[in-house]
């Protein structure tokens, strides 16, 4: 008997293998080849959360934006227009907003969306127990920050539903971009009645209730999110799609092949190596995005204690060459800090702001370096180390290119220090560097968001740079109710920043994507999630 057990063991293994292999079974969700289903991809796989209070990365926000609608929604020109709200009244000091809600805005179960849902949702975001990482976007609301820090009660927060259709919001200070903020997913309403019964309402796909153009049908983790048109949506006539399916191909080569085989309508992240040729062949399109790539100086560390030397390092970079040969995504070079497309009521901030220096000024850079070293009495330049995170090949290539530019144009050899991402940020934040790779992505579309970063001791500053005049200008701009004066103050502040140069702007980010020709009317906003509400598939 015993002799047979060995053979048996293997027989068992085979049986196990065939049985489990068979278990895969027929797929429940094979696409039904319905013509009006938009197939999209979440390039980072499973979204962090589909709860409006928690969703704070691009993928999650894109999905949530199709499932919810706030008081306002961004229109084709990226400007806020009334959505669930039908009317907005602002007080003269811009500190009290009264939103009148439409009477026909409904949840996906047919119930009415009320002002109470908004009040509940916003206080939920600010509730310290929710531990929302997006809560600071609500610090503009009166006592929002205090409540979030546990220093005020929920009742003291400046948002109140006067009745079912009136929401009164009090702000800490005049916030000209508040209407824009109400378009973002964190400001979306939540279904109060459902959440009170089931805390996990937005954690799974079973009882999910939203008020957006689409409604969640199923959510298979790490695999697929299926949504269909929400028949109760207040603007349902404008929605032509029958649904959106969000696939999760996290590998960019796989996503590319799925797009090529026609299983995806849009591929938001073409493979880096192919980007350049895809753009040239017209298969990938480019639109401007927000934010920029830049390098930070540590102004407390030699040699960057000297302004002229900082300037020399900024001028010795050939940005156009960098973008054309290394980054290769047709990015625009950055010679200021606020990116073009940063709009406020008075239009594009960059349109009337100058570019602060010329790209690739090698002779001037050399001269400035000599002068700077003379001022400091240095015979030799102290060692410069460039800190960078090595999670992408691109960072390294850019750093090496800049290293070479400094060698060639300044005669300076800098060292590269590549680190794992979290270690890198740890070092950057504790200012343990001389020169550091940096990125900036705005939270909302206003120049103030860019410029506030470099106030003294602001958590995003990280350069040790401090300028009293700058701080004062930012403070004034934050309190200014006159739009043109406010913009003027911000321009002045940026001028100071670019004169003293605690940073080297490199290039502005853009958005490169592949989209099938039949897909029309995708709204790509410079800041905030994409909107697929109006999409049509035409053959």
């Amino acid at each position: 008997m015993k002799k047979k057990t060995g053979v048996l063991l293997f027989a068992l293994l085979f049986v196990l293998a065939t049985v489990t292999a068979g278990c895969g079974g027929p797929s429940a969700e094979r696409e039904q080849a319905a013509p009006q289903i938009l197939e999209l991809n979440l390039a980072n796989g499973e979204p962090t959360s589909l709860d409006p209070a928690q969703a704070f990365d691009q993928d999650s926000m894109d999905v949530v934006n199709s499932l919810f609608e706030g008081l306002m929604r961004l229109n084709k020109d990226h400007q806020p227009e009334p959505a669930v709200a039908e009317k907005v009244d602002k007080s003269d000091d811009l500190r009290t907003y009264t939103f009148t809600l439409r009477k026909d805005a409904k949840w996906s179960n047919g119930e009415l969306v009320t002002a109470h849902d908004f009040e509940y949702a916003w206080k939920r975001v600010l509730n310290p127990k929710t531990a929302s990482s997006a809560s600071y976007l609500m610090y503009f609301i009166k006592n929002g920050e205090k409540y979030n820090a546990g220093k005020a009660s929920a009742d003291e927060v400046g948002v109140k539903a006067k009745d079912d259709h009136t929401l009164v919001v009090e702000l800490e200070k005049p916030t000209p971009f508040f209407e824009e903020l109400t378009c973002y997913t964190v400001y979306a309403p939540v279904y109060k009645k459902g959440l009170e019964q089931n805390q996990d309402l937005y954690g799974n796909g079973k009882e999910y209730v939203g008020n957006g153009p689409f409604v969640l049908k199923s959510w298979k983790h790490d695999s697929k999110i299926v949504t269909e048109k929400n028949k109760y949506y207040r603007d349902a006539d404008a929605v032509k799609l029958n649904g959106i399916e969000w696939n999760m191909y996290a590998d960019e080569a796989t996503a590319y092949q799925m797009y090529q085989s026609g299983k995806l309508h849009i591929n938001g992240y073409p493979p880096v190596d192919l980007k350049d040729s895809l753009i040239k062949k017209g298969e990938a399109k480019v639109t401007s995005d927000s934010g920029l790539e830049f390098y930070r100086f540590n102004v407390n560390k030699k040699p960057f204690t000297n302004e002229k030397i900082r300037r020399a390092f900024a001028l010795a970079v050939d940005r156009q060459l960098l973008v054309d040969r290394v980054v290769r995504g047709q990015e625009k070079i950055a010679t200021a800090f606020v990116a073009p497309g940063t709009t406020s009521e008075s239009g594009d901030f960059r349109a009337d702001g100058p570019s602060f220096f010329e790209d690739a000024q090698f002779d001037q850079a050399k001269k400035l370096l000599r002068e700077g070293m003379k001022e400091e009495g240095w015979k030799e330049l102290p060692t410069v180390e460039l800190l960078l995170n090595k999670d992408s090949d691109k960072n390294k290539k850019v750093a090496e290119a800049i290293q070479e530019m400094y060698r060639k144009h300044l005669g300076v050899n800098i060292k590269l220090r590549a680190m794992e991402t979290k270690v890198f940020f740890d070092n950057q934040k504790s200012q343990n560097y001389t020169l550091s790779r940096s990125t900036f992505l705005p939270d909302y579309n206003d120049p103030y968001n860019y410029l506030e970063s470099f106030q003294t001791d602001h958590p995003t500053n990280r350069t040790g740079w401090s300028n009293k005049k700058y701080d004062e200008l930012l403070k004034k701009a934050g309190a200014e109710t006159d739009e043109s004066k406010r913009i003027q103050l911000l321009h002045e502040a940026e001028k100071i920043l670019m004169k003293e140069m605690p940073i080297i702007p490199l290039y502005y980010y853009n958005d490169v994507y592949m989209q099938k020709p039949e897909v029309k009317h995708v709204l790509r906003h410079t800041v905030g999630p994409n909107d697929y509400k109006y999409v049509t598939l035409e053959n």
Binding site: T5, T18, E29, E46, D51, N148, D222, S223, N247
Partner: protein
């Protein structure tokens, strides 16, 4: 035998505790935390986040809290995807990784044993060379090359199998084969050398001299003896495969747990790091135990628990 199993069980628990403690210490000693990113959260937000995950408490307290939860099989909530528990993530992901793994393992073991045997029997002749060239290819071509190659030709160009995704059996064919390549090569080489060793033994000559038909000699006398080294590596090999492959799962977009091993560390998602490590370690320890038991079944000379046998 029962006493042996009891003793092994205690040792297994102790090993698991040691692994959990070591992981905990290592994890907290690397720089950065789950909330380190380009965005710097305001202090209040950061404090709320830390409180939510007990990260505001001193590390020894966190450790005790963790052990307490672990005793009730509660692995906590993922920090990166706050709406999911680690238990759910493993429950959802492991069956998929395991299915893929079982298929890959079945291919690797059955084909590997067969190829190894053929190579040994035809030693230094054409079939042997072919098998060994295949084995070298299997060992040296990484699966992040194989995967996209399969996708490009079998998927996109010839449209034999779906490019990626999970759910249908067809979707699991390409990733299974890609995943099976390396273990297949290992098993083939191991089986070949072990078989060669056995074929040279006296008792094989005796069996042949007795006039046993060649197939019987092969199946009864050679295979049973030659297979022991292969069984030894099946334990650790199967765990490595069953718990998923980061690369294969990412390329073929399979909702398994392979990616958590890598991504949890980059994200410093403490609860997920601990959860998947303990899960992996527990399985590995248990499989080794099973393999030890299997020795006793295959080779009666190995007596479990008795000191003389060691």
């Amino acid at each position: 035998m029962l006493r042996y199993i009891g003793k092994r069980f205690v040792i297994m628990l102790a090993t698991l505790w040691l692994i959990a403690s070591l992981t905990f210490v290592l994890m907290h000693s690397i720089p950065g935390d789950p909330f380190t990113s380009e965005k710097k959260f305001p202090k209040a937000t950061l404090e709320n986040l830390k409180k939510e995950y007990n990260l505001d408490k001193p590390i020894p307290v966190q450790y005790l809290l963790y052990l307490k939860n672990l005793a009730t099989f509660d692995l906590g909530i993922s920090i990166k995807t706050p709406t999911r528990t680690v238990n759910e993530m493993i429950e959802d992901g492991f069956p998929n990784s395991a299915q893929l793994g079982v298929q890959a393992l079945a291919i690797a073991v059955s084909a590997g044993i067969l190829m190894g045997m053929v190579a040994a029997i035809y030693q230094s002749r054409m079939p042997d060379y072919i098998m060994m060239v295949l084995a070298v290819i299997g060992i040296s071509v990484p699966n992040f090359v194989l995967g996209p190659l399969f996708q490009k030709y079998l998927g996109l160009e010839w449209e034999i199998f779906p490019i990626a995704g999970w759910g249908d059996f067809e979707q699991s064919v390409m990733p299974s084969i890609a995943l099976a390549f390396l273990p297949l090569a290992l098993v083939t080489r191991l089986m070949r050398s072990s078989m060669l060793d056995v074929l040279g033994q006296d008792y094989i000559r005796t069996a042949r001299a007795k006039g046993l038909p060649p197939f019987r000699v092969l199946s009864r006398h050679s295979l049973r003896n030659a297979i022991i080294p292969v069984v030894t590596i099946i334990g650790p090999l199967s765990i490595g495969i069953l718990t998923g492959s980061f690369v294969i799962e990412k390329i073929f977009s399979i909702p398994g747990i392979g990616k958590y091993f890598v991504e949890s560390v980059t994200n410093r998602d403490y609860s997920v790091i601990m959860g998947v490590t303990i899960f992996y370690a527990g399985l590995l320890i248990f499989m080794n135990f099973l393999v030890d038991l299997a020795y006793g079944l295959i080779d009666p000379r190995i007596k479990l628990g008795s000191k003389e046998a060691r």
